[in-house]
Amino acid sequence: MQRSNIDRVSNSLLIAKDVRIWYPIRKFLSIIGYVRAVDGVSFEVHRGEIAAVVGESGCGKSTLAKAVMGLTPVTSGSIIFNGVDITKLPKSTLRTWYTSQVGYVQQDPFGAMPPFMTIKSILEEPLKIHKVPKKERQERIYNALQEMGLTPPEEFFNKYPHMLSGGQLQRIAIARALILRPKLIVADEPVSMLDASVRIEILTLFKELKDKYNVSVIYITHDFATAKYFSDRIIVMYAGQFVEKGPTKEVIYNPKHPYTEALLSVLPDPDPNNRSVMRKTIPGEPPNLINPPSGCRFHPRCPYVFDKCKREEPPMIMLKNNIGVKCWRYA
């Protein structure tokens, strides 16, 4: 495991370079095409920051999350965590070392818990696997439950998942993700399945814990509003690629990419005047990932499209203030 000297000093916990994840489509024994779930994505996550990846369903954000977790192999590109390229690591090292460095929170709180295990066993599993001594395990589980506001902790030890609410289970999921003191947490739509009123509660808690343990978070969501509330930086994803990235406030109040602009304009805030306004939507649908459009993938739907967009794929153009846009209008 060679560490690059530059990265040791820098603030970057995770650097992804040109990651591509293509799934082959097989007909009998030959490959007739690829589903390009993630198609050339680069980004950085700094220590202690929350980076949100926002996109609609099918844009590839979940696939990217799994690749960062080491659950899905990448077709090309690298993901460098703390100086180590995890895409080149042997499977055994990934399992024994990397899994204690990153935690995973999934979308479905009920599906993420084995229904036949008690809460105590569920939280104990990662500790057992990584050979944490027995005494310390008990302590960590107790503290984890307390931190999550599930008190008194003893009462929750012997409960089963079906006895708890979605919100409580998601707290357990977060506790489980944090219990090995990872440096990074990947949260894939952690609050989408919860009631709107519980979302803020969970995200607030999540934020507090992130500050306490100085852990970075990659927050995957389709909801700009919670991303605005919960993240430091936003990356907008479309059809397997990043189209815009930048500090949260910038992206939300000053969207540059036409797609970001369109998305933000159709999302409502609670406002009685909404009912007299027709939302301006863009035509079409996200493209299929087997045969994406030529040039810029957004061009069939873009209100500002011009000739170059149809022919050449724009690069990620970096503007001031660490903002990136993948659009020819900013060349």
Partner: protein
Amino acid sequence: MSSELLNVEDLYLYYRTSLGLVKAVDGVNFSLKQGETLAIIGESGCGKTSVARALIRFLPRNVARFTGRILLDGIDVMRLSDDEFDKFIRWKKISYVTQAAINSLNPVLKIVDHLIEPLILHMNMPKKEAIELAKEALKKVGITEEFLWRYPFELSGGMRQRVVIALAIISNPKIVILDEPTSALDVMTQANIINLLKELKYRMSLSYIFITHDIAVSSELSDRVAVMYAGQIVEIGSAERMYTEPLHPYSKGLLNSVPRLRSDKTITFVPGSPPSLVNPPKGCRFRPRCPYAKPVCEKDPPIIKIRSEEYVRCWLYAEK
């Protein structure tokens, strides 16, 4: 000239379960005018879907109590037998789009078969006439005629939702109950469907009962808002008032917990979780979570009328 189309008084719906008596709808009152949209918002488990089921009479077998008055277009439909309700009311005066309805389309039936079935079964319409109506309905929801002959899997999620809406409006009902119509869709499609619903509302003078837990989306369609908690309506009022200055502490809490894109208001949340419908707390059901709770809240709060068709159930406003 709009008149009162729907008047619900003292509606109760209880279920018998192995855990006890679930009081899903526990004394609900509201009304709806022609062309008006009422949003019923609340957390999951507050009973809003049960209200929908009560109105359309899709009831399970373990109903323990189903009482009240539902005046629809002058008729108390609670007095009708199940047969009569099926014949005259359901799908003719009031229709229902269920949650995740796009998954409820029968994968082995073509779209046309879905649309003509209620017409042939309930209205004894000849097939040719039914197909014509189906074509019109699809046109209204913005789908071209060729899709009549396709199967559901050949349509995208957004188009399937449109088909479901077409199904709901094909027999020209006066009220359409929409239960979370956009939760399974992506943002752009959601916006398109909301646009469609707005259009249909104006063109066909439809009244909607819009049930959702997404408060921001509810503001796209509603003229009036009812907030439900633990089987009861705790506050009902005009959209103008409810989205800006709600009175009930729960309504306030709910509204404050919505993250906003266009303002930097601080977000807060209501701690705790809703009570079980089997054993709701005595007195005001929100008391355990209410920041303004007083000793008097241990008694059932009265319904305080604010304006015509607007009320709040809270001791804080009892002095008025």
